[in-house]
């Protein structure tokens, strides 16, 4: 059953991603990217990572895509501006490079022994992917500290610097 869910969402993910880069209208592209995020969330859920699936929808499909759509709205592109580009033969070079790289990755993954091992004897803890398991890793319990709590704090400084930077670059008068 799980395999079929994976194939369903995986096909949808690949299809919507390809549509996203083929569409001429940027709004159509963005909508296609939004649907690809939902398919990705579905794959996460199928791998019993419920927390990650919810976060994927909340953060990516929610917050980040709103930003994308806002920016495209602000640009207010006319049809003549984005329908001009046509197919060029030199576009084939990056396409070929991407295909070669992808082929290399797929062959590497299919030959990897550690991945075969995972598939053969995958044993997940009972609360894998749940909110409590994730919060234990980040925040620990009442009298111990989580494994990633230090990195969690570091990321808060990272966000602080990003906020300060955004203000510095965007404020009209310093």
């Amino acid at each position: 059953m799980g395999v079929y869910i994976f194939y369903l969402f995986g096909t949808g993910l690949i299809a919507t991603s390809i549509v996203a880069i083929l569409m001429k209208n940027p709004v159509h592209s963005v909508l296609s990217v939004v649907s690809s995020f939902f398919f990705l969330a579905g794959i996460y859920a199928g791998l019993s990572m419920q927390f990650l699936a919810v976060i994927q929808i909340l953060v990516y499909a929610g917050a980040i895509m709103v930003l994308f759509i806002f920016i495209i709205m602000l640009f207010d592109l006319q049809k003549s501006e984005y329908s001009k580009d046509r197919f060029l033969w030199r576009d084939l070079v990056p396409l070929a490079l991407i295909l070669i790289t992808a082929a290399g990755f797929i062959s590497a993954i299919s030959r990897s022994e550690s991945i075969k091992n995972y598939v053969a004897n995958a044993k997940l803890p009972s609360n894998f992917g749940s909110v409590s398991a994730v919060s234990f890793e980040f925040f620990g319990t009442s009298n111990s500290v989580g494994r990633f709590s230090f990195l969690f704090e570091v990321i808060s400084i990272l966000l602080l610097s990003a906020i300060v930077g955004a203000v510095v670059l965007a404020k009209r008068k310093l």
């Binding site: 550690s114 494994r147 230090f150 570091v154 990272l158 300060v164 670059l169 310093l174």
Partner: protein, 518 residues
């Protein structure tokens, strides 16, 4: 698996991070002070920042005495503080102090003397110090982002100049792509090993694989991950062909930021890459084939070819630059190639002579590069944010002090004895030559450094021999006190390193040999 550590123990372990804590808190204090201070008092922000930096440096000296030679692993092995990381941290803090001293007047001239500059600089420095003091790929990635994002902003700090904004955006986009590539490599490592801790990865490779060929057959993801992580580092260290961003960004960014970026980003990336090489990439089964020779598909060969390309191409392009900042950008690319030679020497030869050369070269590069950019920041014409060779015409009449220090920095970078840069290059190439397998590389490095001397000395030609056409900009330059202090101290340091290199080289060598204490 490590046991859970209690909150009290966690806080005790945070004591080892005291240089970082000082930097983080001071960056926030400066943000607050900046909000409440009168605008006439803002010129005290730079001395305040340097005071905090000096506190942090003192705590590093204290830690150096306090920790054992083998270093301490703290916070679930997320952070690893040892003598190597402390030495690099001290260098980074010196770079930051010099940058702050020069920036104070420079920013005022451009009318953007605001506290956010110093705050972002301190946060960036925090990330750099964290990046060199870890043996964990997760921490390394978070630290990489922590030091990169403030630098992206600092590069675009001159918001009214198109070039500055351009450099910020370019750096942001290309840097994010590089980070993403590196993150993919880290993810592959995690997928293969189930851990991101260097020592565990090394043990796993050592126990399970014999040669590169065997890895390529059974675990190709490992080689893919190695290449992707290396690509991330090659981007940050600006080796050709990952160098495209460097000249544009060095040109567009505020000159003092360029000086800081030129040294600090490079030093951090090299130190972190050195750690990765020592701990993971140097495992024999990632380098050698079954019969004991270096495997053709090993990462060593990739680096070897890139060094040769970088040495030749960067020096040739630098010759045709009229903009001094762009020229120094290409020169920094060629310096990256030298530092890569040091890393390659280290992983191929096991003699102790090669140990000190990487750190000593970084130290000489620190003073020469930041000093050169500091001098340029004063020569810069208001409203252009760039310095061409013609701008330097008749400089010796405008400020003999600046020109004399520039002479020292340029001679040091070109590798003229008796300045620090000469001994940096000399020890580095000597230890590479003694090993034997790198003698072709040494030959190319020597030839290209002669080519390099041409464009370095051309700056001096313009400064000393050319006269200004019109009389308008003959007026003497007014060098501010803090700037003068910073430039004078850097010049003295470059001369000192050239005259008395031995004790420092020995000290650096001992720092590296601590890696092998088990």
């Amino acid at each position: 698996m490590i046991d859970n550590i209690s909150t009290i123990h966690f806080l005790k372990e945070m004591l080892y991070l005291i240089p970082l804590l000082i930097l983080v808190f001071s960056s926030m204090i400066i943000l607050l002070v900046d909000v409440f201070a009168e605008s006439s008092n803002k010129r005290y922000l730079a001395p305040l920042t340097s005071l905090f930096l000096i506190f942090s440096a003192i705590s590093i000296f204290w830690l150096y005495k306090y920790i054992p030679k083998s270093g301490v692993k703290i916070l679930y092995n997320m952070v690893y503080v040892d003598h190597f990381s402390l030495v690099i941290s001290a260098m980074l803090i010196i770079a930051a102090i010099i940058t702050v001293w020069i920036s104070s007047d420079y920013l005022e001239r451009y009318g953007i003397a605001i506290g956010e500059f110093y705050s972002l600089l301190l946060i960036s420095l925090t990330g750099m110090i964290l990046m060199v003091s870890t043996t964990n790929l997760f921490t390394m990635f978070v630290a990489l982002e922590l030091f990169s994002i403030p630098i992206y902003v600092l590069a675009g700090f001159f918001r009214v100049y198109g070039k500055s904004i351009e450099s910020s955006i370019k750096y942001f986009i290309s840097g994010s792509v590089a980070s993403a590539i590196m993150l993919y490599g880290i993810a592959l490592f995690y997928g293969v090993f189930g851990t991101v801790e260097f020592s565990e990865i090394e043990r796993h490779i050592f126990n399970h694989y014999d040669s590169v060929a065997q890895i390529a057959k059974t675990e190709p993801l490992l080689i893919l991950g190695t290449l992707l992580i290396m690509a991330g580092f090659l981007f940050k260290t600006a080796m050709i062909p990952f160098h495209m961003w460097t000249p544009d960004i060095y040109e567009g960014a505020p000159t003092t930021v360029t000086g800081f970026m030129g040294f600090a980003v490079k030093a951090t990336s090299f130190a972190a890459f050195f750690r990765v090489v020592v701990s993971i990439f140097n495992t024999p089964s990632l380098v050698y084939s079954e019969n004991g020779t270096i495997s053709p598909s090993s990462w060593i060969n990739v680096i070897y070819v890139l060094i040769i390309i970088t040495l030749i191409v960067s020096n040739l392009i630098a010759m045709s630059q009229r903009n001094v900042k762009r020229m120094l950008a290409y020169s920094s690319i060629s310096h990256a190639a030298y530092l890569m030679i040091a890393i390659l020497t280290f992983s191929l030869s096991k003699t102790k002579d090669s140990y000190g050369s990487l750190l000593f070269y970084l130290l000489t590069y620190l003073f020469a590069s930041i000093g050169a950019f500091a001098v340029l920041s004063i020569f810069e014409k208001n409203g252009s944010n760039s310095v061409t060779l013609e701008n330097l015409n008749g400089a010796s009449k405008r400020s003999p002090f600046l020109v004399a220090s520039m002479l020292i920095f340029i001679f040091s970078m070109a590798g003229v004895p008796p300045f620090g840069g000469f001994f940096g290059k000399f020890y580095l190439l000597k230890s590479a030559f003694v090993d034997g397998s790198l003698s072709t590389l040494v030959l190319i490095a020597v030839i290209t450094s002669v080519i390099g001397a041409f464009y370095y000395l051309r700056v001096l030609v313009f400064m000393f021999m050319k006269d200004v056409e019109s009389d308008e900009n003959i007026e003497t330059l007014n060098v501010p006190f803090l700037g003068k202090l910073a430039i004078a101290l850097s010049a003295i340091a470059v001369v000192y390193l050239g005259v008395f290199p031995n004790s420092l080289i020995q000290f650096m060598g001992e720092t590296i040999s601590n890696f092998f204490i088990k």
